[in-house]
C-alpha cells in the first residue's frame, strides 16, 4: 500500500462522492418528510376547508348523519386536558428534578433517574388501559365525589365539577396525561439543573442560604430558559397524545363546563372515527383536525426546541 495506485485513488474518489451523496440524500429526506406531512395534510383537509371555511374551527357541531362538522369541541378538549396535565405535571416534574439534582443520596440517583426514564418508555396504550381499568374507578369512587361535594359552594369553581362522577372524562384524561408527561418534564429539568455551575450554588450556601433558597434564587433563575423549554416539550407531548386519552376521555363531541363530563380531543376523535368514516367530507374533516393538531404541536415543539437550543449555545460559549 506504499505506492499509490492512480486507479485505486480514482475509485476511492468515486466511492467518496457516492457515500457523501447518500448521506446528504438521507439528511434531505428528513426535510422532505416534514414537508410531505404538511402537504399531504393540507391536501387531505382541502375538501373540508372549502366546504366549511373558517367556521370549521368555530362550530361545535359534529354530525356524521347530516354531514356537518366543526372542530371546536375537539380543540376545546385538547386544550383543556393538556392544561390539566400541565397544572399537575409541571410542579411535580419540578419536584422530581429538584429531588434528583439536590436532595437524592448519590447511591439512589441513578436508579431513581432510570425509573423516571422508564416511565417515559412505557407505551401510551398501556397508560390508556391502566387509566381506564385502574385510575378511572379510583377517581370515580374517591376523588370525584369529594370534588363535587367540596366545590359546590364555591362560586366559579363549582361549575367545573358538576354532574355525576362518571370516572371517565376530561379530568381523568388530564390526570393520565399528567402521569405520561411527568417523566419528560422531570428529565429535561434535571438535565437543565445539572448545567448550573456548582460555584454559583456554593456561593449561595456560603452566604447562609437554605437549600430551597439556593434552588429558588440561584438554580431556577439560571435555568429559566431550559425550564420553559422542558415545559413546552411536555405540552407538545400532551397535546398530541392519542391512545392514553382515547381510552378515558369518553368520546363525546360536546363542550361542557364540567371537567367531570366526557369530551373528546383532536387525536382521540381521529383514532376513534377515522377507519369508520364514510364519505369524503367526513374523512376530510378528520384530516383537517389532524392538520390543526399538526399546526398547534409544531408551533409548541418548535418554540420549545428554539428555547432549549438557545440554552445549549449559552453553555457552549
Amino acid at each position: 500500500m506504499a505506492i499509490i495506485d492512480p486507479r485505486h485513488a480514482a475509485k476511492q474518489l468515486i466511492y467518496e462522492r457516492i457515500f457523501r451523496a447518500g448521506t446528504l440524500a438521507a439528511a434531505i429526506l428528513v426535510l422532505l418528510i416534514l414537508g410531505g406531512v404538511a402537504i399531504s395534510l393540507l391536501r387531505g383537509a382541502w375538501p373540508a376547508a372549502r366546504h366549511f371555511g373558517f367556521s370549521f374551527i368555530t362550530r361545535e357541531i359534529w354530525n356524521p348523519v347530516t354531514d356537518e362538522y366543526g372542530a371546536l369541541a375537539p380543540i376545546y378538549g385538547t386544550v383543556v386536558t393538556s392544561l390539566i396535565a400541565m397544572v399537575l405535571a409541571v410542579p411535580a416534574g419540578f419536584g422530581v428534578a429538584l429531588f434528583l439534582t439536590e436532595l437524592c443520596p448519590p447511591l439512589l440517583k441513578r436508579p431513581i433517574g432510570v425509573a423516571v426514564e422508564l416511565l417515559a418508555a412505557v407505551p401510551s396504550i398501556i397508560y390508556g388501559i391502566w387509566g381506564l381499568f385502574v385510575l378511572a374507578p379510583v377517581l370515580q369512587r374517591h376523588v370525584q365525589p369529594w370534588l363535587i361535594e367540596h366545590a359546590h359552594s364555591i362560586p366559579g369553581i363549582n361549575k367545573l365539577f358538576l354532574g355525576p362522577p362518571f370516572g371517565i372524562g376530561i379530568l381523568t384524561a388530564g390526570v393520565v396525561l399528567a402521569i405520561m408527561v411527568l417523566p419528560f418534564i422531570a428529565a429535561t429539568m434535571r438535565d437543565v439543573f445539572d448545567t448550573v455551575p456548582p460555584m454559583l450554588k456554593e456561593s449561595g450556601y456560603g452566604l447562609g442560604a437554605t437549600t430551597w433558597e439556593v434552588i429558588w434564587n440561584v438554580v431556577v433563575p439560571h435555568s429559566r430558559v431550559g425550564i420553559v423549554g422542558g415545559i413546552m416539550l411536555g405540552l407538545g407531548r400532551a397535546l398530541g397524545e392519542t391512545m392514553a386519552v382515547t381510552f378515558v376521555i369518553g368520546n363525546a363531541h360536546r363542550i361542557s363546563t364540567s371537567l367531570l363530563a366526557p369530551g373528546t380531543t383532536i387525536s382521540s376523535a381521529i383514532a376513534n372515527e377515522f377507519t369508520e368514516a364514510v364519505g369524503d367530507l367526513y374523512t376530510s374533516s378528520l384530516i383537517a383536525l389532524g392538520l390543526l393538531l399538526f399546526l398547534i404541536t409544531f408551533t409548541v415543539i418548535a418554540a420549545a426546541q428554539a428555547l432549549l437550543r438557545r440554552l445549549e449555545q449559552r453553555i457552549a460559549v
Binding site: 446528504l24 418528510i33 410531505g36 416511565l119 407505551p123 396504550i125 388501559i129 391502566w130 422531570a186 437554605t210
Partner: protein
C-alpha cells in the same frame, strides 16, 4: 415565628414536597407494573403464543398479532434506521455547522416529538390512498418514519463522541472521509449506534396510533405484506375496550408482553451506554 424559623420551615416544606413528587412518580410506575403483572399473568398461558386471535366470546391467543408486530417493527427498523444512520453521519461528518445541517437538526427534533397519529395520517394519505387498501407495508413505513429521528439523533451524538485523534490518524494515512467513517468511526461508535437502534425499536414497537389506519388489523394469520396485518397494539386497543372477558384477558396478556419487551430493550440500551461511558472514562 422569627425570620430564621420561617426560612427553615419553608425549606423543609418545599423539600418534603419535592420528595413527595418523586414518590408519587415512582408509585405510578409501580402501580402500572403491578396492574400489568397481576392482570397479565391471569390471561397468560401457552395458548397466547400458539393460537390466533379468537372471535368474540371464545378462547384464543395472540400469535398472529405477535407475528405482525414483529414483522412490521423489523421492517420499520430495516427501512428507517439506515436513513437515520446515514443522515446522522451527514450531520456529524459532512454538514457539521452548515445552515442546512442546523435546519435538519431542528426539523429532526420536531419530528422526534411530533404526535405519532399525524405520521399515521401522512402514510394513510401517501400510501393507503394511493394503493387503495390498508397494508402491513404501510404500517411498516409509518413505523420507519418514527424510527428515523431516533436513530439520526443517537448516530450524530455517538459519532461526535469518537476522539478526533482517530479521525485525524485515518486522514493522515490518506483515507478519504468515507473510508474513515466506514472503517474507523462506525466501528468506534458501534455500541452507541446499536443503543440508538434498540431505543428506536422500543419506541416503535409500542406505537398504536400510526398503525390504526395504515396496517389496520386482521383477525387471521396473514404473511402478506400487501394486506392488512394483525399487530399487538391495535389488538390490545380493540380487545381492551370490548365487553368480552376472554378478549380483555388477552389484551392484558398482550399489554404485559409489550411492556416487558420494551422495558428490557430500554434497560439494555442504558446498560450498553453505561458500559461505554465506564470504558471511556477508564481509558484515555
Amino acid at each position: 415565628m422569627n425570620r430564621r424559623m420561617y426560612r427553615k420551615v419553608m425549606n423543609a416544606m418545599f423539600l418534603a414536597l419535592s420528595l413527595l413528587a418523586t414518590l408519587t412518580g415512582l408509585a405510578c410506575l409501580a402501580a402500572i407494573l403491578w396492574t400489568l403483572i397481576s392482570h397479565g399473568l391471569t390471561g397468560m398461558s401457552w395458548h397466547v403464543f400458539k393460537q390466533m386471535t379468537p372471535p368474540p366470546g371464545s378462547e384464543g391467543g395472540l400469535l398472529n398479532a405477535l407475528y405482525g408486530s414483529a414483522v412490521m417493527t423489523l421492517l420499520g427498523i430495516l427501512i428507517g434506521s439506515p436513513i437515520g444512520v446515514l443522515a446522522g453521519t451527514y450531520l456529524a461528518e459532512y454538514g457539521r455547522s452548515s445552515r442546512l445541517s442546523t435546519l435538519i437538526r431542528f426539523i429532526n427534533d420536531v419530528l422526534l416529538s411530533a404526535p405519532s397519529i399525524i405520521i399515521g395520517l401522512f402514510i394513510y394519505e401517501i400510501v393507503v390512498v394511493k394503493m387503495g387498501h390498508f397494508s402491513a407495508l404501510a404500517g411498516a413505513l409509518a413505523l420507519a418514519v418514527l424510527a428515523i429521528p431516533v436513530t439520526l439523533r443517537t448516530t450524530e451524538d455517538m459519532l461526535n463522541l469518537v476522539p478526533i485523534g482517530m479521525k485525524d490518524s485515518s486522514a493522515a494515512l490518506g483515507a478519504y472521509p468515507w473510508r474513515t467513517i466506514v472503517s474507523v468511526l462506525y466501528p468506534a461508535a458501534r455500541s452507541g449506534i446499536v443503543t440508538g437502534l434498540l431505543l428506536a425499536i422500543a419506541r416503535i414497537s409500542g406505537e398504536t396510533a400510526p398503525l390504526l389506519f395504515t396496517a389496520l388489523n386482521n383477525q387471521f394469520w396473514s404473511t402478506n405484506l400487501n394486506a392488512p396485518m394483525a399487530n399487538l397494539p391495535v389488538v390490545i386497543f380493540q380487545f381492551a375496550l370490548s365487553p368480552y372477558k376472554e378478549w380483555q384477558n388477552l389484551a392484558w396478556a398482550g399489554a404485559l408482553i409489550i411492556t416487558v419487551s420494551i422495558l428490557i430493550l430500554s434497560i439494555s440500551a442504558r446498560v450498553i451506554l453505561a458500559i461505554l461511558q465506564a470504558e471511556r472514562s477508564s481509558g484515555r
